[in-house]
Symmetry: D2
Subunit: 494 residues, 4 copies
């Protein structure tokens, strides 16, 4: 349900950079990894990679495009044989999408190879990169995640897992990392646990995955969340048995999972932090109905992100839920660069008004979030053209006012709707709606965790709404476009 | 909402072969045709073609794949210039999908060229083809539709439109045809009006399209349905004005639009035969709730076809509507031939249970139709695995028992669920559900037309449910695989 | 040696349109056909097709590009199974190169299918095409050769071979045709025998091929030339034996093989009309040395066409033969559309002067023919830049003054060098050489046939040199670009 | 003339790994580099890359395939803008051909980026690689050349050119290297000068290229050879002027250019070490005629490598030179993996006997070298089948007995013909010829340098013939397949 990211209306969505998956000790390791990545495809559609180890050698496949474009070809999977594998889906936040940036990244160490996959963003990535280059390191990718490899390679520790932990201790920001060595599969989450990571199990073999939906697709069991600040090391012993150790090598910090996982990113059928995402979204919609009721005829979701909240709003308000916007699933590959005459039709390529259900009605449109508002303008206009008598926008999350530095690709803050207009009324006029309301921050906290925000010690990270960042921002802005004077000197096409 | 056809679960869906679109007198004729075909993509995803005329020359582009794969490339559209264009999307029922079968088909006549696009199927197509070959015609495609071209070429009439009408008089079965000559755009519907065709208008320029959603996408106005047995001839006059004539050249017959357009094929936002399809489907769901109520906790649609009926069922029954099955939109191109280990996961590649909403619940699953039942078995199993306490199947159309010969690709009748088991109980056991009910034929008629079926003169064609075919079946079975002894001798790869 | 046609210097070469190959009764029919076509690749590089018959069904593969690009893929060959196959390589003279023009062409007849491949050009092709369209035929290709199919389909004869002969009787011009029916492989040559065709044999199975080099590659034996005006019908009998019949159905005419086969087209290792082509070309060079001697230091061929004549010239004159121009074989696929800055380097992409062998020398450059002279200008300039003291051009054929209408793609006659300048001196100045001489027509006849031209009854056709056309030119100019007012209305991209 | 490497008869040719080209200060730097690489294509056909610097940023294009497949596309060249560029063509000796191995290699250093292209092979490459990994370096490619980058990055020097020289001081073996920094273009040759490198000039702008043919194609002037052990640094000054400095930073050693450049690798029109390659090869043929005369009718080259020597042999012996083997230039892309039935035809796909010139003749076949002899066997058989009365093999270089470690991809020494048989007679019997003779080592030296080999201080390196290696072989065998226990752990597909 969460493929709004596939939308050509790129300007008004947020993007997460990655999903990770790994499995140790299973004969179908790569095929299972491909399936897991397919279930995590909503977390990154630009590229996907798999690294496996077959007892002798590491193997790698990295491809631009969807998991299903490549990894269901038996010939492709045959190139990543072995009983251990990990994979990564990517939507690039830093680094252009070129093949050498596609993860997992790999390094040969004196003690053997190591592959890593990263979900999140380091807030001191550029700083570390500069230091490493000054010390003679050669960065082959333009991806922030490569610094982890160099920190591992330069660690004075001996064992690859010790080197991995040593490397993590230099990192600030958000990371859910999976690593694969010749004998180990390792999962790690940053001290705040900003991005999710779960431990699962299939036939007694351990699995790490960004979300539980990647366990469900292969019939694996959910074991538990990897905790904030935890490093879980699964190791294959010489006798074939697997041991699982847990380390907490970092100074303890409170968990602050990113609320956007609930608002937008996670798949509705995933269970994140112990909470079913679909149910949380319905609760957001129900809270929104309580906070911002309106007398109307139909509740219409902006597909597909707004659907669960719209169902919640409809059930709470008693106003009928209707599919007032129909989505065209056959978009094809090149609609991303349409002709001028076609571009003018804009939103209609993907969505069309269900005119017979809209004409003459007072419509409540439910969306999960508003970033710049450009899509919302078009959707309101589409409703008007279809004959809606009134159009009321209800947004199932608070206003977005601040940039993210933890792996979400937010636009420049001044382009955010909430920063372009001072008042809700001004925003509503820009949008062209009859009324506009956002869910309150407490309404969001209650939908997710059952209680309001604790301002002294917030239970989640909500920096995009509040500006309260859970970590230092050493690089200040890792995605600044004016910055790379000495870095990213190289531009390469694949 | 209607892209179930894109599903890898091919065995249990029906397929329509085509959608057509044409526009006369507009400077952006090809771009508008591409947009119209995009909106009609649900009617055929295997290939798409556009033919244009620029005042001097006809131009043609025919491509395998989706409209959005090719026709949004400005270079491609530039190859079909001119102020008149028509196009076709295809899902092959007869003729393998090879490039020379992709429509529009074109012929040079002594009086000038003519292009045609066909939605439907001739029940005397093979018979005509045999006669033509005996007379020295060379059939270049393996498509049934090519016989129309030969009939036009051999007509003794002079004007291309007279030849077109002359050719139509030989045809039996279902056809909604659009034709383009050097000065005319022609739309025609068979005497029973089995397949839909509408007349629209943009900036005063006439348009033919299979469904109204193709008008909506370009902001065109709906004028009226082309009537059953009607030939509408739009002609550009030397002064640039456009005249529109209507002929009724065939012996009059009652209109009998195919009910499957309402049950499954048409897009929910289209208005077919004056009725909004989404509303009709909700009414089917509501009638189903009345005919086959069940005490349960949630109403869950089988996405995406079952969603409108599920909303109708939920509203009528008062049982909450929930998204209990989540769809993965990122299927990629090659999941059509997955590895054995991946194929085992079957339905999960496209759909997954929303476990938190299903576990412990009594579930009513709503689907639009059941063909062979193979998908239904998997969906029920998915619900059971997710912890459903009870699973009740409610189908928003009657049992399918008979083959279609009018352009719908039905499996061999003995493979239909309704023919494999004698009783509803046996079917239910095969499906693995706790109960199974189908909408009655009268319930369907009432949802569509407001009154029950008139057995003496049925208002629609319902042959797949009843075996009551509206035309002779001269070829008996145009898609019989054992037949082509002297025909279709040629197999060609593109 | 004869791949000058692959050259980017397109303007100054002639092109033949086709090569044909067929084999009856061999289990590896398609693979052998692919090999035969590969040996005939110099006769057409734009497209290649194979049609086979497996006892039940015809199969076809038609591809743009080289034989070696497609037909060495086992999967491709597997799509043309059976013990009978024929194939065609094409360089388009009439009809754009689109997939539906690629031969063999195929038609289903009442009596079964027939495939044909054509080398040559009909001088009444457009006239026949117009007549056929007036009678209701639908021409799907823009290729002249398609008229043969329609004439076969419309013949009142019963047997497919009778229909084939009947169709041929309507044709004027040049044709070496191979046809394949369900039981027969047929080879036919026009009454003048303008284009070559040989009968060969492998393991007792008959083969037709344009040149003997296609027999050599598969180890087949040369049996004899198909004679001018002869139709050779090889038929597989029910008992598996093969009968071979010869018909002479046309009014007898003297054989006049096209001299350009010797000058330029045929591969040097082929035996055409009983004469080894390499030896004939050496003899042309030797005659040229006698007719047009020059005091110089080195004899340098313009590669690769001029090499045999240069060897002959050097041996006759006693002046050393040297490779003064080196050819770059790695041209790649896209050098056909180079950038402006690269295009300026022109001829150098393919050829470079062997400076150390040229500097300070008096050079005799030997080329096989001069069409427009544009390449010759560049080659002379290249020799000058490399320091040649003198550059003398000797051309191993007479001046080209007239268009061909028999399958050779000649430029407009007014663009021919021999028509742009009145005297040899003017041509020489345009070329920039110190001297320029062409072989005389009698020198050419003597090199090929041992005796001078018989003006009353020329032993060959030499129309490009003399304007003496061996057949009527009914269409006048079959390739005229201004003509197609009612024909070729359709432009299609593949 | 030297594209024998393109041959499918891979087993019996040697391959050089690379060609390099660089230009500083020219507005068309990339287009000129593409042309230069095209002229050097015979030195490597697997991949080609270009790196440019536009004053702000480095740009890179790296592609598998021929230069002409990619770099003549204006869009591709537009991706490598700027006034400085360098490029590389590659035939992989170490490292599989994967995109990240394609050169130029690039690294961002603290002082700015540097790109390098390498022709040759380090005999201590694996040793250095192991040391670097132990120090925490991450090797991203499997190419030996990457160690240079790491040595540069870890150098304690400041300026990039000082770092480059510092890095070179660690290297053993053969290298002709070109490097590009933000202001400099550097060319360097190893102390023995094993591989060639020349300095040229166009419009006053310096150029480095592996051979002079890369200068000729763009009309550039040859300035001089880069000397053995020399580092030439061209630097763009802030005022736009260019300075050229020469360093000799290594302990002096005698020049020993590899003789195989003359025997086989260099293009015949190149001038290597001051000697025209075509003339040297003719002299080899002439010496061979003196050393190993034979009474015969024709001298036939094995195309294309044997042609100049055959001309020399013919001129010296007075026996006529004839093209007895005809080459088919249209091989296409997939003949590299032909079907079994096609593979059986082996050598005939590329070459065919010119039967009319061979039948009944005593033939002297001239080849440039024999590696394993497998091709020679086939060529002799082809001559016999064409009716040759006698077949005498004369090889224009000595017997190859030893592996190369300097960038030539030699087979395992035990597979070399000269090591499989003890005597010339045994070899001749294996080959199936009537006689077999090789050029003597002194005959080779005299053809190249005018005097016999000086055994105390050989003027060239001739290790493949003599086993006398000019440098230590620290890694012993850099291409050993059994070695990579801890290295090259990663296998990646592109």
């Amino acid at each position: 349900m969460s493929d709004k990211r596939f939308d050509e209306l790129d300007g008004d969505t947020l993007r997460e950079e990655c999903g990770v998956f790994g499995i140790l000790g299973h004969p179908d390791a790569s095929a299972l990894t491909a399936l897991g990545l397919h279930a995590l495809q909503h977390r990154g559609q630009e590229a996907a990679g798999i690294v496996s180890f077959d007892g002798r050698q590491f193997h790698s496949e990295r491809q631009l495009g969807l998991v299903g474009d490549h990894y269901t070809n038996p010939a492709t999977l045959a190139r990543v044989p072995g009983h251990m594998a990990m994979g990564h889906v990517r939507y690039s936040t830093t680094g252009e999408t070129i093949l050498r940036n596609v993860q997992p990244l790999f390094a040969e160490l004196e003690v053997g190879g190591i592959a890593i996959g990263h979900n999140g963003n380091f807030t001191n990535g550029l700083t570390l990169r500069r230091q490493l280059i000054a010390q003679g390191a050669i960065c082959q990718s333009t991806s922030d995640s490569e610094v982890v490899l160099h920190l591992i390679a330069r660690s004075r520790k001996t064992a690859s897992s010790d080197r991995f932990v040593d490397a993590l201790s230099h990192l600030e920001g958000a990371f859910s990392l999976v690593a694969l060595t010749r004998t180990k599969l390792i999962g790690a989450r940053d001290p705040n646990g900003i991005r999710p990571l779960v431990l699962g199990e299939l036939d007694g073999k351990p699995i790490f995955a960004s979300e539980t939906c990647a366990l469900d697709i292969i019939g694996a069991k959910f074991v538990r969340d990897v905790e904030n600040g935890e490093v879980v090391i699964c190791e294959m012993q010489p006798d074939g048995s697997i041991t699982i150790d847990s380390l907490k090598p970092f100074p303890p910090r409170p968990e602050r999972l990113c609320l956007f996982e609930y608002v937008y990113f996670a798949r509705p059928d995933s269970v994140v932090g112990g909470r079913g995402v679909y149910g949380v979204r319905k609760a957001m919609g129900a809270n929104l109905a309580r906070e911002a009721p309106v007398d109307a005829d139909v509740v219409v979701p902006v597909p597909d992100g707004g659907t669960p909240a719209a169902i919640g709003y409809a059930q709470e308000s008693g106003i009928p839920f209707e599919l007032g916007i129909i989505r065209n699933h056959y978009v094809g590959r090149t609609f991303i660069e349409p002709t001028q005459s076609i571009r003018a039709f804009g939103v209609k390529l993907k969505h069309s008004a269900n005119r017979a259900e809209i004409a003459g009605k007072r419509v409540i449109l439910i969306d999960d979030s508003i970033v710049r508002g450009t899509t919302t303008v078009k959707v309101v206009q589409m409703m008007r053209e279809a004959g809606a008598r009134e159009v009321h926008i209800r947004v199932a999350s608070p206003m977005i006012k601040h940039a993210d530095y933890y792996g979400i690709d937010t636009p420049d803050p001044e382009k955010l709707l909430a920063n372009q207009y001072r008042t809700l009324d001004e925003m509503c006029r820009f949008i062209g709606a009859d009324s506009l309301q956002f869910l309150s921050i407490d309404g969001l906290y209650q939908a997710v965790g059952g209680v309001a925000r604790n301002p002294l010690r917030p239970q989640f990270t909500d920096h995009c709404f509040t500006g309260d960042y859970p970590t230092p921002l050493t690089d200040l802005s890792g995605r600044s476009k004016s910055e790379p004077k000495t870095l990213s000197l190289m531009r390469e096409a694949v």
